[in-house]
């Protein structure tokens, strides 16, 4: 991908401008909170999508909200781009620095500010790790439900910016369903509060708009999360199927039966094999697909539902069926799924993780088309699937050291996402657009929608200094991408000039 294509053009500094800016920055923050030599900048050159790397002009590590405000006022005045970063675990390059911009790290904001166990909420700073919230409230029998796979490292600010999900989101919702309020520093450095502890917040639902906005609308400085009572009991079933279609049918039947499992995960044979070889979870490696179904609640309820789910799995042709006999076995069965990505990392020098979502009824067809695309590009694809909510993670295996293979993997990934759009789905379920899926945004959204997105951005950040060039492609980019990519014989964006 051409990283310069989305370069911010509001600030075109000379060497002297850069020096002047760094001097001003130095007046706002203690010396050790501003990094600007290449060696100290290096750890910030990429996020979890490490194929894209770039050094920012400086990294700032403020410690107070006032410092963030001062930084934003300075950047607003000079129109210097600002990229916010939490733990840097994002998978779409959303926190990739801009060459003449600053990277605003929220790593020092790690405090839990307030906890109200009776009203079941906690107000935390953006740099608090996802799992640290659940740990801090566990003594009250509560937890924070969204559990992205990176939860031991990822931070709540980033979770809000990406609207993170997790394996339990079918039943317990995404980040947007589990937060009550956020504090924001605007592009101009103003402090505003969005949402609140009281319901029915007056005005527009800005909390929904900010959730998943990828750092484009404001800097998140605190998050008030909802806490839920910990389920008393959980049980997991493992089923092996002779076909992907049969596993897909079982998922539909469980839900049609009125059961919303706490987790419902599918893996194809290649993923199952890799996970089994890695953690020895006891998966049936002869199965074409496996399903993991977790049920939670009070014990009597879980036991009743376990019986119902077993019957459904059997009637759908499961040829391997097991219910965890104890907590250790339940953890072992999950360990395989949770280690699926690193397990794939063992069998291939590199892998590229996609994140499309599809209406579940098209699962078999989509997997078939992915398999044909995999042959076309001669790159293996392994599938891990949040089956309950239709979120597909095809992992494309490649070797970055082989000339051109990364580009091939990206092209294959792009085609997979286009299949997801064609099937009525989306190019990203939970990883975000970032810099990675800008081209596919042109496939998912026609020009008027993209223009509307830009208008929304403009309402919050008129000078486009917040994470510019991410999440929503420019119309010109889409025109150029579209020129290579003519859909159904129609030239998209016909009114734009072509270069």
């Amino acid at each position: 991908m051409n990283l310069t294509a989305e370069k911010n053009c509001t600030w075109n500094p000379t060497a002297a401008d850069r020096q002047h800016f760094l001097t001003e920055l130095g007046q706002l923050l203690p010396a050790d909170s501003v990094l600007s030599d290449p060696e100290t900048l290096a750890p910030y050159e990429c996020d979890g999508l490490s194929v894209y790397r770039r050094l920012p002009l400086a990294v700032v590590l403020p410690e107070t909200v006032e410092q963030i405000q001062a930084i934003m006022r300075l950047c607003a005045r000079l129109k210097v781009p600002v990229v916010a970063r939490g733990a840097g675990t994002g998978l779409s390059g959303g926190a990739l620095p801009l060459a003449d911009g600053i990277l605003l790290s929220l790593a020092k904001f790690t405090h839990i500010l307030e906890l109200n166990p009776l009203e079941r909420w906690a107000r935390v700073e953006p740099g608090v790790r996802n799992i640290a919230i659940s740990e801090a409230v566990a003594a009250h029998g509560l937890y924070y439900a969204p559990d992205p796979s990176s939860q031991i490292a990822c931070t709540i600010g980033g979770n809000v910016a990406e609207n993170s999900g997790g394996v339990h989101c079918l039943k317990y919702g995404l980040t947007v369903h589990n937060i009550l309020a956020i504090g924001i520093i605007t592009a101009e450095g103003e402090h505003i509060s969005i949402g609140g502890l009281a319901p029915n917040s007056p005005g527009y639902d800005l909390l929904a708009l900010f959730t998943g906005s990828e750092g484009m609308l404001g800097i998140i400085i605190d998050v008030t999360v909802k806490l839920l009572p910990k389920p008393e009991y959980a049980q997991v079933l493992l089923a092996g199927f002779p076909s992907l279609g049969a596993a897909g049918t079982a998922v539909g039947r469980i839900i049609a039966q009125g059961i919303i499992p706490a987790g419902l995960e599918m893996m194809d044979q290649a993923a199952t094999q890799a996970a089994e070889d890695f953690v020895h979870a006891g998966y049936p490696t002869d199965a074409v697909a496996i399903l993991l179904c977790e049920l939670d609640g009070v014990e009597a309820e879980v036991n009743a539902q376990t019986g119902t789910v077993r019957e459904i799995l059997e009637s759908c042709g499961a040829n391997h069926l097991q219910t965890a006999v104890d907590e250790a076995e339940r953890m072992r069965l999950w360990a395989g799924r949770k280690a699926a990505f690193p397990a794939v990392g063992r069998i291939s020098p590199d892998y590229y993780c996609m994140d499309g979502t599809i209406p579940r009824r098209h699962l078999a067809e989509v997997l078939e088309r992915i398999s044909r695309l995999s042959e076309k590009y001669s790159l293996p694809v392994v599938n891990v699937f949040h089956a309950g909510d239709g979120n597909l993670h095809p992992l494309i295996l490649f070797d970055a050291n082989r000339e051109g293979e990364l580009a091939q993997a990206e092209a294959l990934g792009g085609e997979i996402l286009e299949v997801c759009v064609e099937m009525g789905g989306t190019i990203t379920g939970e990883h975000g657009v970032g810099i990675e899926k800008l081209n596919q945004m042109c496939v998912q959204f026609p020009e008027p929608e993209l223009r509307q997105f830009h208008a929304v951005k403009n309402a919050f950040d008129a000078n486009s200094i917040l994470n510019p060039g991410k999440a929503v492609p420019t119309l010109h980019r889409c025109a150029e991408f579209g020129a290579m990519h003519i859909h159904r014989g129609k030239l998209p964006f016909p009114e734009l000039e072509r270069f």
Binding site: V176, E190, G429, F445, A459
Partner: protein, 357 residues
Amino acid sequence: MSDTDSLLALEKQVQTAFESGTPLSISAGNSKSFLGTSSADTALNISGHRGVVSYHAEELVLTARAGTPLAELETLLAEKHQMLAFEPPHFGPGATLGGTIACGLSGPRAPYCGTARDFVLGTRILNGRGEYLRFGGEVMKNVAGYDVSRLMAGAFGTLGVLLEISLKVLPMPEQELTLAREASASEAIELMNSWAGQPIPLSATCHQDDRLTLRLSGPVAATSEAKRRLAGDQMEEISNDFWPKLREHTLAYFNTPKNLWRISLPSGTPPLALTGAWLTEWGGAQRWLRSDEDGARICQIVAKAGGHAQLFRAGSAATEAVGPPPLSEPMLAIHRRLKQAFDPAGILNPGRLFPQS
């Protein structure tokens, strides 16, 4: 009534209004027209744009045109033992899906299952230029682009004319059980909050007149276990009809010539020192106050407790307008810029949610 698609006519009407700068007042069933007023004289009637577009029960997704009657959708869902889990109030036989989402109102189940916006997956709208736009979709997880769909919930049509909405639906619980017992207001608030922190399948709570009513929903095994733990055998079991009456404001409590205020508070807030008759629901977070006390005083006391008050239905002695509470100055500025981004000519329901200028 048969399904009809009036997209082209609506599109043309909004485009013409945009060109001529004619403000439009969006309506369909008029069941919630009492909530705020728009300064527009010209009506844009959505009721002709109706019908279910698709319903995939196994995927928990329903898509319907905005003018589809809410009652029709609920009947369709019930056939598959599913429901709109936010339990939307109808407030009249004409209630439509579009009005329900535009007003963003939710019923007794909301604090336990989610509010209207939580269930919105996608929308098709006309913005203030009359452009037909699609946001979100029919899938549970979707982070491509800003979440404009959820932004439409509760926007009262001021950002776009809702044409089609995709919602997540949920299975109906296997069993529902309504129990009631005596409790003072402060005891009830304490209990509602502490129960919500325990793994109990609570699906609604209400306190009025020293009586605490709760609903348990879920598989029989779960509701009976919860009943046992709450010493439910010492409570009175009453009809589940209590909740639709609460939702629709047809309980005797709501039959009053006095002003009806909706008070939104952090759920654990102790009873407030305001005279009038109270009804507390949503685990303590949404409270109704029937009172002719001075509106400014109500708003001030509620704000001090960290909440906000809205005159919901004007009584005979009302001096203030029914409508959403005012926004702070910086928030108002953001709202106006956002409105401008969707509706540059300011023609969609101007003034319905906040003063236009």
